[in-house]
C-alpha cells in the first residue's frame, strides 16, 4: 500500500468522523453587541430631514397703499449751507531772508614741480610689507652638513656629538654615595633629511615661493643581479673564502635542495624556535642604516645595489673577516667594490658594541644577508 493511499484514507476517515461527531463538540455561541433602535414612519423621517431646511412660506405680504387721489405733493424744505469763512490768516512774522553764501576766490592750483630726475625707488621696509601667505608653505629642510633619515635640530654648543642623547651627570655633593659615573652631555649631530642647495634655501623675508619642484627621477631600469663571488672582487681573501661553499647559482637547485630538506648544508641546520619579529628585524635595520654613510660614494656607486653576507657572533657583533659581497647590480665591478666597502664599514661600525638582537634566537640571526639599495639616497 503506498503512502498516498494511506494519507488519503486517513484524511477521509477524519472528515467523516468530524461530520458524524462534530455536533458533540458544539460550544455556546459567542456573545454579541446589542444596539437599540427606534422605528419611525416616512412622514416623521421627512419632517426630521426637512425641518431646518426652509422657513414656511408666508401667505400674506404687506404692500404699501397707493396715495389717494387729490392729495397734494408734500412740501419740499431745504436749508442753505453756511458760506465758508474766507478771512485771510494773520501774518505773524516775515521769515528772514536766506544768507547768500559768500563768494570766495578759488585757491590757486600750485604749479606742478616736475623734475627730469626719476624718483628714487625706496625698497619697502620688511616689517611693513610683510604679507601673510594664505597657505603656509611646505616646511623647508634646513641646510646641515649631515643628511639622515630623520632631521635633528642643532645641538647645544657645549654638548658633545654622539649617536645617543644623554644628559650631563655630575657628582652630587649632597648625596652620600655617587652611584652614576660622571659623564658629559651628548646629543646626536645636527642633520637634515635632504640636501639643501643654495638655490633651494628659503629667504625668510620673502613670502613668494622661490623654489621650483625638483623633477622626479626616472624609475631605475630593471637590472639583473650579476652574481659575483667574493673571489672576483677580493683576491686578497682567496684563502679565507676558498673553503666556504659557493652560493648556488641555480634557483632550481636551491628549490630542489629545500624540498629535499638539504638546504644550508652541515653548518646551517634549520633553526628552531620562533623567528625574529618584524620589530626585531626593524631594529637591526635601523641600527645598520645609522652608520651607512653614502656621502663619500661616487655617482656610479650610488646606483649600485650590493648584497652583503655577514656571520654574527653570539655577542651580536659581526665576526671579523666574515663580511663578503654576494652579488651586485647596477654598476661596474669598481663601483660595486666601493658600495661594498661602505656597507662593510656600516656593519662593523654600528656592530662594534653588538647589535640589539634577542640572544635566544641566535640561530635565526647567525647568518645575515643585507641588501644595501642606495636608490632613495641618490635623489636626496
Amino acid at each position: 500500500m503506498n503512502t498516498g493511499q494511506i494519507i488519503s484514507g486517513t484524511a477521509h476517515i477524519g472528515l467523516i468522523a468530524f461530520a458524524v461527531f462534530g455536533g458533540a463538540f458544539k460550544s455556546d455561541p459567542l456573545p454579541f453587541e446589542v444596539t437599540s433602535v427606534t422605528a419611525i414612519s416616512a412622514e416623521e423621517y421627512a419632517a426630521l430631514i426637512d425641518a431646518p431646511r426652509a422657513p414656511e412660506a408666508v401667505a400674506n405680504v404687506d404692500t404699501p397703499e397707493p396715495p389717494a387721489e387729490g392729495q397734494g405733493l408734500p412740501e419740499l424744505t431745504s436749508t442753505s449751507d453756511a458760506a465758508p469763512d474766507l478771512s485771510q490768516p494773520e501774518v505773524t512774522q516775515t521769515p528772514p531772508p536766506d544768507n547768500v553764501p559768500e563768494v570766495v576766490d578759488p585757491v590757486p592750483v600750485p604749479e606742478a614741480e616736475v623734475s627730469d630726475e626719476p624718483p628714487v625707488m625706496q625698497p619697502p621696509q620688511e616689517d611693513v610689507a610683510a604679507l601673510v601667505p594664505e597657505v603656509s608653505p611646505r616646511p623647508q629642510p634646513r641646510p646641515a652638513p649631515r643628511v639622515a633619515p630623520e632631521a635633528v635640530a642643532p645641538p647645544e654648543p657645549d654638548v658633545a656629538i654622539d649617536e645617543v642623547e644623554r644628559q650631563e651627570t655630575v657628582p652630587d655633593a649632597e648625596a652620600a654615595e655617587n652611584i652614576e659615573p660622571e659623564t658629559e652631555a651628548t646629543a646626536p649631530e645636527e642633520a637634515t633629511t635632504e640636501i639643501v642647495t643654495e638655490a633651494e634655501q628659503v629667504d625668510p623675508a620673502s613670502a613668494a615661493p622661490s623654489r621650483s619642484l625638483r623633477p622626479k627621477t626616472r624609475p631605475a631600469q630593471p637590472q639583473t643581479a650579476q652574481p659575483q663571488t667574493a673571489e672576483q672582487t677580493q683576491p686578497a681573501e682567496d684563502t679565507r673564502t676558498a673553503a666556504r661553499p659557493q652560493p648556488d647559482e641555480s634557483a632550481v637547485n636551491d628549490a630542489l635542495a629545500e624540498a629535499l630538506g638539504q638546504a644550508g648544508g652541515a653548518d646551517q641546520g634549520a633553526p628552531s624556535g620562533p623567528p625574529l619579529t618584524a620589530g626585531e628585524k626593524d631594529a637591526l635595520r635601523v641600527s645598520v642604516q645609522q652608520c651607512w654613510n653614502v656621502g663619500s660614494l661616487s655617482s656610479e656607486a650610488l646606483r649600485t645595489t650590493v648584497v652583503v653576507k655577514v656571520r654574527m657572533g653570539e655577542d651580536a657583533k659581526p665576526v671579523s673577516g666574515s663580511i663578503e659581497l654576494l652579488s651586485s647590480s647596477g654598476g661596474s665591478d669598481a663601483a660595486a667594490r666601493q658600495a661594498y666597502e661602505a656597507a662593510r664599514r656600516a656593519i662593523i661600525r654600528c656592530g662594534a658594541n653588538g647589535y640589539d638582537l634577542p640572544k635566544d634566537k641566535y640561530d635565526h640571526w647567525r647568518d645575515i644577508e643585507m641588501t644595501f639599495n642606495p636608490e632613495r639616497m641618490r635623489i636626496k
Binding site: P145, R146, V147, P149, I195, T197, E198, A199, E200, Q201, S212, R214, P215, T217, R218, A236, A263, G264, A270, P271, P275, K281, L284, R285, V288, Q289, C291, W292, N293, V294, G295, S296, S298, S299, E300, A301, K309, S320, A334, A335, E341, A343, R344, R345, A346, I348, R349, H364, W365, R366, D367, I368, E369, M370, T371, F372, N373, P374, R376, M377
Partner: protein, 440 residues
Amino acid sequence: MMRYILSLLTVLMLWSFPATAQNGPLRIEITEGVIEPLPFAAPDFVSDSTTGAEFGRRIAEVIAADLTGTGLFREIQPEAFISRVTSFSSPVQYADWKAINAQALVTGAVSVDAGGQLVVRFRLYDVFAGQELGQGLQLVGTQDGWRRIAHKVADQIYSRITGEAPYFDSRVVYVAETGPKDQRIKRLAIMDYDGANVSYLTDSASIVLAPRFSPDGRQVLYTSYESGFPRIYVLQVGTAQRRVLEQQDGTMSFAPRFAPDGRRVVYSLSSGGNTDLYMMDIGSGTSTRLTNAPSIETAPSFSPDGSRIVFESDRSGSPQLYIMPAAGGEAQRISFGQGRYGTPVWSPRGDLIAFTKQSKGRFHIGVMRTDGSEERLLTASFLDEGPTWSPNGRVIMFTRETQGAQGSASLYSVDISGRNLRKVPTEAGGSDPSWSPLQD
C-alpha cells in the same frame, strides 16, 4: 568533519611555516642611510731626515686640504690622535684609530734620494675593516713639485674611497681682475685647482675674455680686444707663445671652445648683425657654418664623444639651450623652465649639462640631464655665471660677482649634489674659469 579539516590545516601551517621562513640566512634590506663627510686621519708623513720631515708635514697638509675640500671627507685633528705613526712599516694600531672614529687612515714616508728627488710612499687603511685599501704606492718627483706629488697622493686616496675619477692634480686658467670696476685690469692667469702656484699668461694691455683649455691641457683659446675688435687667440701654456686665428674682416668672433679632438674649434661669429655658430679647423684655418638662423646662436660646447653640440639660442624668443649634431643640422630644445638659460657646458662624463640660469632677478648655476630632465639649481646669487667642470665631472667652478660699484668677481666651486659651495682662493678677483684635464 569540518573541525577535523580545520585542525589538519592548522597543524599543516604551523609545521610548514617555520620550515619555509627560516631556511637560510636572515635577510634585511637597507634603503636609508646617511650622507656625511667621512672622518679620516692623515698624520705627517714620516722621514729620517729633517728636509724630508718638513716635506712630510706639508704633503700631509695638502692631502688633508684636498680631501676636506671635496666636502666628502672630514679631517680629524692631530691633537685627537692616540697613537703616533713613527715608522712607515710598523703595524697600524687599529683600535687607537677606531677610538677616535677615524674611518680611513693615510700613512706615508718621505725621503730625498741621492739625486735630490723626493720619494714619497703612502698606504691607505680602512680602519674599521682592519685592512689596507688597495696597494701602497711610491711617487718620485722634484722637490719643487712637492705639491703635485701631494695632489697625486690625495687623488689616489679620493679615488680609492669614493670610486670617482681623480681631479686634484689639475689646473685652472681664468681672468684675473684687479682695480675698480670702471678701470678693471684683466689678465689671463693659470693656477693649481686649489689656487696655489699662480702665474700670469698675458699682460694688462688689453681686455681678455673667456679662456678655454684644450683637451690635452697644453693650449688655451681666448678672446682678446688687442686689435680693438674681439679676436680669438691660441696660446701655448708651456711657452706663452700665441697666435691669432683666421678671421674675415668686418666680423667678430667670440665664445670659442675646442672640440674633443683638439684640432677643431667651435665658436660664434657675428656678421651683419646676425650671430651664428661656426667650426674651424685650426690647422688649415677653414671655417664651416653650423647654424643659419636670424636669431643669436652662441656659447657652443661639445659632448665628450664629439658627436653633438649644446648651445644657447634665442630663436624661441628668449635664450634657451639646444642640442644639435656636431656637423650642424636640426637642433632640439632641451631647456623648458621659466627664465633665461645660457653658457651650457657638457660634463666630461657626458651625463649632465651645466648652465647659467637667470630667473626672478637672480642668477643660478644648475645642472640638467642631456635631454633636459632633472634640472637642478645648485646656487643662487646676484650674479653667478660661466660654469666649468672638474676633470671628473663631479665639481663645477664658476664666477660669482657681488652687487654694487664696489662689487668684485670671485671664483667659487660647488659639488654637483649642491653641497660644499666654497670660494676658491685667488690673489685678486677672478672670473671666467676653465678647468684643465688631469695632468699627466
